[in-house]
């Protein structure tokens, strides 16, 4: 996983509340057995007028010129600014895969759906929660050329005029993101502790460990 430290980039405004994971990446793309290649299909139903299919060549598709990712001044942004409850709906990790495959590194919103929020950290994506007022201000100010600097170490967002917003993040999530660590390897450092727990637990709840012959 790509380590995360600090990013300065154009902001992409997506002024919608409750953006669900079906909108982020429609289900036909979930048939893939890979983790990559979802970027061209990010927000597929909003980005194109025709229906997208896995593995299709997007260069000849009918593009919706009004959708923000299709505007040249925003399309290379790495910071997505959006509204409340972003990422609601299904647990599909294909949503953060699509966002990061497209090039998004930071999502700023007043709130996120729980599972999506969790999934972001596994994929080097930083979800930032700001207050509703701060989000309103950013939406008023954003436009072509509007860049923010997101500094994970100091937990700050710096606006073009130099003012800063602070954001909260759990220290363990922050550390993992900064170092780009493999979660499983970290957990397996506690393997003995897990085993000791499991042994005690098995004695208390033996019925959960009686493996059925019939399966």
């Amino acid at each position: 996983m790509q380590p995360f430290e600090r990013i300065t980039s154009q902001v992409i405004p997506l002024d919608r509340a409750n953006v669900d994971t079906d909108a982020i990446i429609p289900k036909q793309f979930l048939k893939s057995i890979r983790r990559t290649g979802f970027g061209p299909f990010l927000f597929d139903e909003w980005r194109y007028f025709d229906r997208g299919e896995p593995d299709m060549d997007c260069s000849n598709r009918q593009v919706n010129p009004d959708f923000v990712l299709n505007k040249p001044e925003f399309k290379d942004g790495q910071i997505l600014l959006t509204r409340e409850n972003f990422g609601c709906g299904s647990s599909r990790e294909h949503a953060p895969w699509a966002l990061s495959d497209y090039g998004i590194r930071v999502i700023i919103a007043p709130s996120f759906a729980d599972i999506f929020y969790n999934n972001c950290f596994k994929n080097g994506l930083l979800p930032v929660v700001l207050s509703a007022e701060e989000i309103d201000t950013l939406f008023e100010e954003v436009g072509p050329g509007y860049q923010l600097t997101v500094d994970l170490k100091n937990q700050t967002i710096t606006k073009p005029d130099g003012t800063q917003y602070h954001f909260e993040i759990d220290s363990s999530r922050k550390e993992r993101l900064i170092e780009g660590l493999d979660d499983i390897a970290l957990t397996l450092k506690f393997a003995d502790e897990i085993r000791r727990f499991e042994d005690r637990y098995r004695q208390r709840m033996p019925w959960l460990f009686s493996e059925p012959a019939s399966l």
């Binding site: 002024d15 919608r16 509340a17 409750n18 669900d20 079906d22 909108a23 429609p26 289900k27 036909q28 979930l30 048939k31 893939s32 057995i33 890979r34 983790r35 139903e45 229906r51 409340e84 409850n85 609601c88 709906g89 299904s90 647990s91 599909r92 990790e93 953060p96 709130s111 759906a113 729980d114 599972i115 969790n118 999934n119 596994k122 994929n123 759990d170 220290s171 363990s172 493999d182 979660d183 499983i184 957990t187 397996l188 506690f190 393997a191 502790e193 897990i194 727990f197 499991e198 637990y201 208390r204 709840m205 033996p206 019925w207 959960l208 009686s210 493996e211 059925p212 019939s214 399966l215």
Partner: protein, 466 residues
């Protein structure tokens, strides 16, 4: 101070807590399906890892499987590869799997409880947000992403932060024709799709206790639509009766030991909740969603709302957008909405009780000539067999419904079952998002009884006067 049911299950599975509150939690059970697992198995392979405990997992293909002509196999090569990959991965990692031709195959969230894989007091995950369903049996069950599927496979644990406690209490008795689906839609209408974010919801009150385990599953299934990763219902005699004798539930001595433990699985009387929401069951009417989010819901005798009445500009915009997508006008009576298709199925409402309720309404009647397709997709092979033994399939077929094989089907339209652009559907599923049931399709969420009543009439009707 007393503990909530959630506190009890959490404490029982807590291995360690870091200074910032992030905790390592033991996971008892994992359900696996074909869509969110291939990359997890690939991750194990690349790192040379083995499952921590293979038999703590159970896999079944459901999202992509065809619901008719199954003997011909899957025609879409991409879907076929995904289902074949699941079977290959399960063979390689020694994980029990119900293949497409197994009589026990079905939607993961229907299969888990019915074979007794879901048990009270356990922690249970699946790479699927509707894992909350299993909370109906007093299990702490929640959806995870693919990286966490891999993490559980490799370590039997997850890192998580404890959620807050919410109590949703529904007291009183619901009226005739009002079901578990209407209760949960009314709850979502009240607290909103983000109302439960950051919480585990315990559903309680006399109206919840009066529900069967199947009905409780319908309620917990949609906890995620209220923003909560998990929904829970306390264990009671109804739960124990449901569990008794299922293939994987403990037997004999172990059963006695288990039920002694399970009987403790309820919130203590002096437990504190961070938020309490109360509903009066007698006030709940059959519900119909009109928009593109489950919170956009009104009673069947209501009208489509007018965005002009909404003061918050962000909300107003989303109401306007939803009306445009759904091609509805403000002020239209819900009962004037005409339908093209009707779908009875999904992990919300495809269990035997749902099919019985639908069949009772439709018996001896025919679907309206304007309905292009009405289909019943049982939640599992066992539900299908049971329904056929009771003759329900005949009732549906005689009324003009198609009787299909089990799977997710038109709940999310990953297989061939889907809406065409502009088509309008009464659906017993759980999500009415844009494009959910097919590109450009329009979904209205309702109970099974309301869906079949709409199929007969061609438009929504109040099943209470039907």
């Amino acid at each position: 101070m007393g503990k909530t049911l959630y506190d009890k299950i959490w404490d029982n599975h807590l291995i360690r807590t870091e200074p910032d509150g992030t905790s390592l939690i033991y996971i008892d059970r994992q359900l696996i399906h074909e869509v969110t697992s291939p990359q997890a198995f690939e991750g194990l392979r690349l790192a040379g890892r083995k499952p921590w405990r293979s038999k703590a997992n159970l896999a079944v293909a459901d999202h992509n499987v065809p619901t008719k002509n199954r003997d011909l196999g899957i025609t879409d090569p991409v879907s076929r590869l995904q289902v074949a990959t699941l079977e290959k991965n399960c063979a390689e990692f020694d994980i029990p799997v119900f293949s497409m031709d197994d009589a026990r195959q079905g939607i993961v969230h229907v299969v888990g409880p019915e074979i007794g894989f879901t048990q009270p007091g356990t922690t249970m995950v699946c790479g699927d947000s509707h894992t909350s369903t299993h909370g109906a049996l007093g299990a702490l069950a929640f959806g995870v992403g693919t990286s966490e599927v891999e993490h559980v496979l490799a370590t039997q644990c997850l890192w998580m932060k404890k959620a807050k406690n919410m109590l949703v209490s529904v007291e009183g008795q619901v009226g005739e024709g009002v079901t578990a689906k209407d209760i949960v839609l009314a709850i979502i209408g009240k607290i909103g799709t983000a109302g439960g974010t950051g919480y585990t919801i315990e559903f309680a009150g006399s109206a919840i206790r009066a529900l069967s385990v199947e009905g409780r599953m319908t309620v917990c299934n949609m906890a995620i639509e209220a923003g909560a990763r998990s929904g829970l219902v306390a264990v009671d005699d109804t739960t124990l009766q449901y569990l008794h004798g299922r293939p994987l539930t403990p037997k004999g001595e172990l059963w006695e030991q288990a039920i002694e433990n399970w009987r403790q699985l309820h919130s203590d009387t002096d437990a504190q909740f961070d938020r309490v929401v109360e509903l009066d069951a007698s006030q709940i009417k059959p519900q119909v969603t009109w928009g593109t989010s489950p919170e956009m819901v009104v009673p069947v005798d209501g009208t489509v709302p007018d965005p002009a009445q909404e003061k918050d500009p962000v909300k107003r915009k989303s109401l306007e957008r939803a009306l445009e997508y759904m091609a509805l006008r403000p002020g239209m009576p819900i009962q004037s909405i005409q339908l093209d298709k009707v779908f009875i199925g999904s992990c919300t409402n495809s269990r035997i009780e749902d099919l019985r309720a639908a069949a009772a309404v439709i018996k001896g009647r025919k679907i309206a000539s304007t309905i292009k397709l009405a289909m019943v997709v049982p939640g599992s092979g066992q539900v299908k067999q049971q329904a056929e033994a009771e003759g329900l399939d005949r009732i549906f077929v005689e009324a003009g419904f198609e009787w299909r094989d089990p799977g997710c089907s038109m709940c999310l339209a990953m297989n061939a079952d889907r809406l065409e652009p502009g088509e309008r559907c009464a659906s017993t599923s759980n999500r009415n998002f844009e494009g959910r049931q097919g590109f450009g399709g329009r979904t209205h969420l309702v109970s099974p009884a309301m869906a079949v009543a709409a199929a007969i009439s061609g438009h929504f009707v109040d099943v209470r006067n039907f």
